[in-house]
Symmetry: C2
Subunit: 408 residues, 2 copies
């Protein structure tokens, strides 16, 4: 085990051991937001044959039309196949998406023709292919529909439905269990006695993990439980989940419960302590193929640790890209603190006329929850020994999730 590692080293240590979860077949109707497991290709042309693009009249196009008057030979109903062809001066009523009779070169929309008994007439120009969807116009057989690692969005669902893909293979949902270790921490449903505090990190981490595609199998607090009971709790979590997050009990003082508990399960410690603020009291371990990440008990530090260490694991488990984007942005306000270790500050990224801007949100103390209320979408990455950040300074940011705030 290495102590006080560099962040990238910590991330690399964990991610080198994460294996993408297997795929599972789910009904298309349940695939929204899941991650495609393998590339998917068109199994046929779409449309499968030429179709009318409008409700109207299919007509032949020779390029030598003398007049635009046609006998209406028949009118096809939706779903009806034409059992005939059309010749010069003949037309057939067709419907949007419907097949065309042999000999059809274009379709004239209903609203553009004048009906006259059994005939229609039309004023205007007609070109070959007008209002006809050609075979394969939308997709050709073999076209890529979705790439492994893509998140299924509504458009994906519509396209896969059009090809009759009623089941889709997506990465299995990562399972996450969460254990609060602070002895003074009670479940948030319990009224705390003097000296106790409510568990807010459990619900916070559960919500982060859910948003990032995971299923939360358990959320518990150790409280006053005996060490052997806490060990059992942790072992149970390791059995049911792909990743166990612990919070609290990570301070370097007398009560470093997290490190001891993790060690006692037989898990292999990867590192303990990361050279960042907040979140320096983070650690990670591996038990078989399960990841254990110990996060600080201070809420803002717990959140930063989640974003920097746990979220990348959830991405890797699902086969998503290894880590969210890094961008540079202009800081809209100032941050007076200086020096110390590499620091991560919660911010809101937005787009102005002059490009990306980031606003530092109030409530940045690691013990504070207030900063989290703003639904910040980036962590601003200030290097070790940084100077105070002044408004207008260029800073590096790490994008936390695909949601963004736009403004002009």
């Amino acid at each position: 085990m290495i102590e006080n590692v560099k962040l990238e080293e910590a991330q690399g240590d964990i991610l080198s051991l994460v294996i993408q979860l297997p795929g599972e077949s789910v009904p298309l109707a349940q695939a929204l937001g899941r991650v495609i497991h393998n590339d998917l290709y068109a199994t046929n042309d779409l449309p499968v044959c030429a179709q009318s693009a409008v409700d109207g009249y299919a007509v032949p196009v020779s390029g030598k039309e003398a007049c635009f008057r046609y006998l209406v030979k028949e009118s096809l109903l939706p779903g009806q196949m034409p059992g005939f062809g059309i010749g010069p001066g003949e037309s057939t009523g067709v419907v949007t998406g419907g097949p065309l009779p042999a000999g059809a070169g274009a379709v004239i929309p209903c609203e553009s023709v004048k009906c006259d008994g059994e005939h229609i007439s039309f004023r205007g120009a007609i070109s070959l292919g007008d209002n006809i969807k050609s075979q394969g116009e939308d997709f050709c057989k073999g076209d890529l529909l979705a790439r492994g690692g893509d998140i299924v969005n509504p458009g994906t669902v519509g396209v896969l439905a059009a090809f009759g893909m009623n089941e889709v293979v997506v990465s299995r949902v990562p399972r996450v269990a969460i254990l609060g270790l602070g002895k003074e921490v009670v479940p948030c449903s319990v009224a705390p006695l003097p000296g106790q505090i409510r568990d807010c990190n459990g619900p916070l981490l559960a919500a982060f993990a859910q948003r990032d595609g995971a299923f939360v199998t358990a959320m518990e607090t150790a409280g006053a439980k005996s060490p052997s009971n806490v060990k059992s709790l942790l072992e149970n979590m390791l059995w049911q989940a792909d990743m166990v997050l612990t919070t609290g009990g990570t301070a370097s003082g007398v009560c470093d419960q997290a490190m001891n508990m993790v060690r006692q399960t037989g898990a292999r410690l990867l590192f303990w302590g990361v050279r960042i603020k907040p979140g320096s009291h983070s650690g990670a371990a591996i038990y078989e193929n399960k990841v254990i990440i110990s996060l600080s008990g201070n809420p803002a530090a717990c959140a930063a640790g989640y974003h920097l260490l746990a979220a990348p694991v959830l991405r890797a488990l699902q086969g998503l890209g290894p880590y969210p984007k890094r961008l540079s942005a202009v800081c809209k306000n100032s941050f007076p603190k200086k020096g110390g270790p590499r620091r991560f500050v919660q911010g809101i990224l937005s787009c102005s006329r002059s490009g990306l801007e980031v606003t530092i949100v109030p409530g940045q103390k690691s013990s504070m929850l207030r900063g989290l209320l703003n639904n910040g979408n980036v962590l601003i990455d200030l290097p070790a020994g940084h100077r105070p950040v002044e408004a207008g300074a260029k800073v590096q940011v790490i994008l936390l999730n695909p949601c963004a705030h736009w403004e002009q």
Copy 2:
């Protein structure tokens, strides 16, 4: 009923009749992504009393400290209340988040002291309040925690948990039913016969509605069902859902099934036909307090109609702001088509060094699905009679959902 209305008139007609859904109490753990119903305020100060911000030693601060050597009077365990106070030259071991003994003015972190039997010594400056979280530092009783109309994000969950709000009142989930009316349309799970096509609009609309916070109660196709059976289907949907979406059967030709079906339920038609492309064949009706929106059967037109007419209803039902943002952006590529009615083109908004840019995605024909594969985040709003759009032109865009694509 009015025909061929202006888009804003169509939206206004519908939204003037939409009533926000009532609130319902859900467990906090299930509130993520839901919409807060009423403003929520802090019920107490947080922290409730002064606490240590670190594991360390609480010491008195008089401003006249001669030397920094203290007798360690006791060491408090997590959750333990101090039953004593400290005087000059005395200290108490305290834990992060733990209460402080009377007389404490600051806390010195564990890692900064030297232990020497029953004493600790420290080199450095101490100021009143160092490493102490004061009462109400994070939130004061009465502070606004979440506003009615806010979407619950992970930070909201963490904060509400800290205040013991285990249940939260959110807007009831809107219920949406979807009916495909084209006679040639078969469920996407059925292999189409010649002349038939698979229903892709149903799954597409269901996915849009789910993403926008709705629960889909039913997704059916009318196919070859008799008019009275389709009427029953529609009536059943009106009974179970807050909004019914129909697709297809809206062309102006011989088979305007949608308009007839909607009329037969006894619903009041609000308008039929909107002066936009694609999606001109859209209509809306009201049955009691249920909204019926009829969308085109062409997939891209169906999607545009959803975004412009149905999504605002889902927002209003949940108590979200009435309509997504309008922005102006520079178009990165060209769109050769010109003239005709007001046109909506699918695009991807991104942020460059010079501000907002939008890329027109390929596959814009109303019959095509390809354009939907790109997960476009805006509709570009081109006015009636517009000229071809050239790369570099300024265009108006309507933001479709909170996801955005960033680049630099």
